[in-house]
């Protein structure tokens, strides 16, 4: 839980000009705004924790504005305040909001943005004549720091504002930014930092992140916590069956198709609604279904990261102008862009985390004193439990914990090269500087040395690249240990590849004309957006899919474009994207387990869900708060083992992979497995329950923690997940270059594949630093090994085996997932649930 309100005792008074401005708007400065100002006047850095609508951004800029207003113009152009946000759209938006008070107070302060979209000539001009306030992103900061004149450019910097710090800090981008901050502290020693964050469970992690860390011990920034707004109003939607009083809740699936008429009614009953979904494919599906229901032709739009930026901007503009009734969006709109008059937030599917839900709810109603209203729409029975748990957490103001993060080595490699591009560096000095960044505080000198070697020559045990080294000794004087970039082309290479966001290779989707069944011509037609290459790889010409709200027919590839025509296919395949799939948070999972274990908490659940749990308690047993329920039962000619760890799909997939190997070794002859957010099912030719009873394979041994040793290594060696992760690390670390549109023309046979490099490196130098970075990434990301480890420790000696004669009610949802094709065929779900009736009848039969 949050610490109690901690407003600094001495509060500053506003300069008259500012006080008058507040007055003219009919406002009075808020306590936390004044608290930040007084801390800044004392030269202190601070973290501000405030809900949306609390005047957070103005609070962050106020000290800088007061400072600048006191300096007589004209001034020599010098950077005074730097603002960094995770989204370039946010930087642009905040600039607009800041220009208003600056203009109204008649201040002569220049404010500019610098993002990937800023034209080259303006960027050059900005370096020559910096604005007073610059709004930018972590990637642009890294680039600015890599110029030889970075010292002069940042030397005058007095004030730094980091927006949405909670969203940035715990990621590779956050690692890159932390290294940039360490550098800034060197270039501008008196720099004051202000971090702006939504409510988080552990604010100390962010307070540490803000401050340069001493070589031993730790330094925390000051903290200011704004009062929380009105308690939100949250309801969980459980629609009635058509024309009947019975509530309808599907057993499995994630589309929430059954609830869309009710969602449509909610849109009709409100002024402006934001409909959040978890994946881009779901966004496509929901918008299409809403339009099918849209008899009133309400303006309902779609917004997600794969749409062309033009399409996105159009939606954003229409939203700001208040002409839309609803926008269906993914997490691209989670963060602070001000949408004005949103009066209801709908969250389709499970919220996955308490903090994410709080953020999304905050999108509704930017006025603090009125409650935000939210509607949660569970797509299946387990999601009802998750939604109830998330609702309880949101009402209490509880947050998910953060997983402690150690700075990634591939990001460090990129930073080291960037430093060398700016001015020669002494490795010992740079090591101390890097360690002052909180994520890299535990980095050893040895590992740092390996990273520097990697940057220079690849750092291979077989040394023969010294003469191609990218770093050269500066050697300007005796004892000069500094290293510099070896050539201008190295610098060029760095600038082309900086940044930690590695997109999956994308193809443009372009609509071409068709006549009858045949496409005509390959040219012309508009671009609808971009789609992951791997998805298109799965399509054959003639296949249909949903994209940008249209059903499209794939016609073929031309260079870097996927050519499509419009289609009337009523049941398209639906894109299944990597992105946007969040695992269930540990905190929420614990709450769901608690809810299951405590019958008295079931009263808030809809009747079908309650009955489902009652029958489970009668037919088998309910999972407890601390144990692991394992059910074994025969079905058809197979035996099923279903367990309920509630650790999220990624962790369950890893667990499934490892358990299958063990079952195979023990002779259980496993055939396959399927993982959901809540449970894992494995089927085999022999009965693991019987094998346990005969002491052939005790479950305690099957679930023993040592599976994370050799079994994990052996699996990883073959896993394609690791190859994908390796590619990303290789790009971020600067080993291989990014692919830019147009570069593919060189043809595949003259380039190289990162898979081939991975295979060779793993065989010949398995301990190489890049493989370590890859493994660390996979363990925390795609594989979620940490969570598997925690779970195995938690349930040790607490495995509860239930041998049943048939499937249990709780096992039905995960069994329904069996047989789904690898591309999520959400459109097939209706068919699938028809086929599932037998299974449900079997599970719920009372005798």
């Amino acid at each position: 839980m949050m610490k109690p309100l901690a407003i600094a005792r001495e509060t500053a008074t506003l300069p008259p000009l500012f006080a008058r401005w507040f007055e003219s708007r009919g406002w009075s400065p808020r306590g936390h705004q004044l608290a930040l100002l007084s801390l800044a006047e004392a030269g202190k850095s601070a973290l501000l924790i405030a809900p949306t609508g609390a005047g957070k951004t103005l609070a962050g800029f106020l000290p800088g504005l007061v400072d600048l207003a006191a300096r007589p113009a004209p001034r020599k152009p010098a950077l005074h305040t730097l603002y960094i946000s995770p989204l370039k759209a946010l930087a642009v938006d905040v600039k607009r909001n800041l220009e208003m008070p600056v203009a109204e107070m008649g201040l002569s302060i220049s404010i500019e943005t610098r993002t990937g979209d800023t034209p080259q000539n303006r960027r050059q001009r900005q370096r020559r004549e910096p604005p007073d306030i610059l709004m930018t992103t972590p990637e642009q900061l890294a680039l600015l720091l890599s110029y030889p004149d970075a010292g002069a450019f940042f030397g005058s910097l007095a004030h730094l504002v980091l927006d949405e710090l909670h969203a940035l800090a715990n990621s590779k981008r956050g690692d890159l930014l932390s290294l940039g901050l360490a550098r800034l502290s060197k270039l501008a020693p008196g720099l004051r930092r202000t971090g702006l964050s939504a409510t988080v469970a552990e604010p100390d992690a962010l307070r540490r992140y803000l401050m340069p860390q001493p070589s031993s011990g730790e330094t925390l920034s000051e903290i200011v916590v704004a009062p929380v707004g009105a308690r939100p109003e949250i309801s969980v939607l459980t629609p009635l069956e058509d024309g009947r009083e019975e509530v309808r809740i599907p057993w499995s699936g994630h589309s929430a198709r059954h609830a869309l008429p009710a969602v449509y009614e909610a849109i009709r009953a409100n002024r402006t609604v934001l409909v959040f979904v978890n994946t881009r494919s779901q966004a496509e599906f929901v918008v299409q279904e809403l339009w099918r229901l849209n008899e009133d032709a309400l303006p309902i739009a779609l917004h997600h990261g794969s749409l062309s930026s033009e399409a996105r901007r159009k939606v954003e503009a229409a939203m700001s102008a208040g002409t839309l009734r609803a926008v269906v969006c993914t997490s691209t709109l989670d963060l602070g862009i001000d949408w004005g008059e949103v009066d209801l937030v709908v969250n389709m599917g499970a919220p996955k985390g308490a903090s994410r839900l709080a953020q999304r709810i905050g999108r509704a109603n930017h006025r603090l004193d009125e409650p935000s209203r939210a509607l949660l729409v569970p797509a299946n029975r387990f999601e009802v439990l998750e939604c109830e748990a998330a609702r309880a957490a949101a009402l209490e103001g509880a947050q998910d914990g953060m997983v402690a993060r150690t700075g990634a080595l591939d990001v460090l490699a990129q930073h080291v090269l960037g430093c060398a591009c700016s001015v020669p560096f002494d490795p010992d000095d740079l090591y101390e500087e890097v360690r002052s960044a909180a994520p890299y505080h535990a980095l050893t000198r040895d590992d740092f040395g390996k990273v520097v070697d990697f940057v220079s020559t690849g750092g291979y045990a077989l040394k023969n690249y010294d003469r191609f080294a990218r770093l050269r000794p500066n050697a300007k004087a005796e004892g000069d240990m500094r290293l510099r970039a070896a050539s201008p082309s190295v610098i060029q290479q760095y600038r082309m590849n900086a940044g930690t966001i590695v997109e999956a290779p994308m193809l443009k989707v372009r609509m071409i004309k068709s006549r009858g069944r045949r496409p005509i011509g390959l040219m012309g037609g508009r671009t609808l957006g971009e789609i992951e290459e791997y998805f298109i790889d799965q399509l054959s010409p003639g296949d249909t899919f949903l994209f940008a709200g249209h059903v499209l027919r794939f016609e073929g590839l031309a260079e870097t474009e996927a050519l499509v025509t419009k289609s009337n296919d009523p049941s398209p395949m639906i894109p299944s994207y990597y992105g946007g799939k969040f695992p269930l948070s540990t905190y929420l999972a614990a709450r769901v387990r608690t809810m299951l274990a405590h019958r008295e908490q079931w009263s808030s659940l809809p009747a079908p869900v309650r009955e489902w749990l009652e029958i489970q308690a009668w037919r088998s047993v309910l999972p407890g708060e601390c144990n692991l329920l394992v059910e074994c039962f025969p079905r058809g000619d197979r035996f099923y083992l279903v367990c309920y760890p509630f650790e999220g799909r990624l962790a369950h997939q890893t667990l499934g992979m490892l358990l299958t190997r063990r079952l195979d070794r023990a002779g259980a002859r496993p055939l396959g497995f399927v993982a959901s957010e809540y449970s894992l099912a494995i089927w085999s030719l022999r009965d693991p329950g019987l094998m346990h009873e005969r002491h052939e394979l005790p479950l305690g041994e099957l679930f023993a923690e040592d599976m994370l040793g050799d079994d994990l290594d052996a699996w990883l060696a073959e896993s394609s997940l690791l190859k994908r992760t390796f590619r990303d690390c290789a790009i971020i670390s600067g080993l291989i270059e990014r692919r830019y549109p147009g570069m593919e023309k060189t043809g595949r046979q003259v380039t190289f594949s990162s898979d081939l490099i991975y295979n060779v490196l793993r065989e010949h130098e398995p301990g190489h630093i890049l493989l370590r970075a890859t493994y660390n990434d996979a363990a925390t990301g795609l594989l979620d090994v940490g969570r598997v480890a925690e779970m195995l420790k938690r349930v040790k000696d607490r495995i509860l085996l239930k041998r049943l004669d048939r499937v249990s009610p709780l096992a039905v949802p995960v069994l329904l997932d069996i047989g789904k094709v690898s591309v999520d065929g959400e459109a097939n779900e209706a068919l699938l649930s028809e086929a599932a009736d037998d299974l449900i009848a079997e599970a719920t039969r009372l005798v």
Partner: protein, 237 residues
Amino acid sequence: MKDRRREARLETHPSLRVCGVSFDLMPEGAAWVPDERLLVVADLHLEKGSAFAARGIALPPYDTRATIARLEALVAKLKPQTLVALGDSFHDGNAEHRMDEEDAARLARLSKSLDWIWIAGNHDPVPPRAFGGAVMEELRLGPLTFRHEPRAAPSTGEVAGHLHPCAAVRVRGRRLRRRCFASDGTRMIMPAFGAYAGGLNVLDAAYDGLLPGFDFHAWMMGARTVIPVSARRLEAD
């Protein structure tokens, strides 16, 4: 029964006839003529990794080692009398000088252990002499001609490399892309053997005029065997 025997034969090494000469296709990416004790490999691209390093992309320097180790294993298994490397054995003219000493010694040892023939390629028009063996523009053996770059059809009896053929096929909705041997029975284009050598899809325009429409097979490299797939079943990249 007959089927099972055929399967068993497929499991070991399927054979492909080019102008009546029978080649066993090895899953390692080499072709073997048992009657002549002749082993053929193409496009080793030795020191491709270090060539990239010279341009500032420090790829792991183990590709030469990995390629030689696979060749050594094949030679140990099959005990060939003659080995033909079909050109582009060295990634560029300086490859020899960038090669690690130990790798160079291993290659020299291997090439001197049998009759080794370096066919000249576009990457290595003059293969280095340091590793022994004979250098030829092309080699004729009975009805067969071994050369680096395939010529426009008809080029009967030609065994060539250069293009790094690979093929993609969809099985139960999954797309598989592998290196392959491409042949219509009159000629054969070999897959690249080098550890860092990429692949070019056999349906690419670069193969126009070499293979007849869809009347050829891609012999795709699996983990333990080589699987022939009709060109009609293949997918472009």
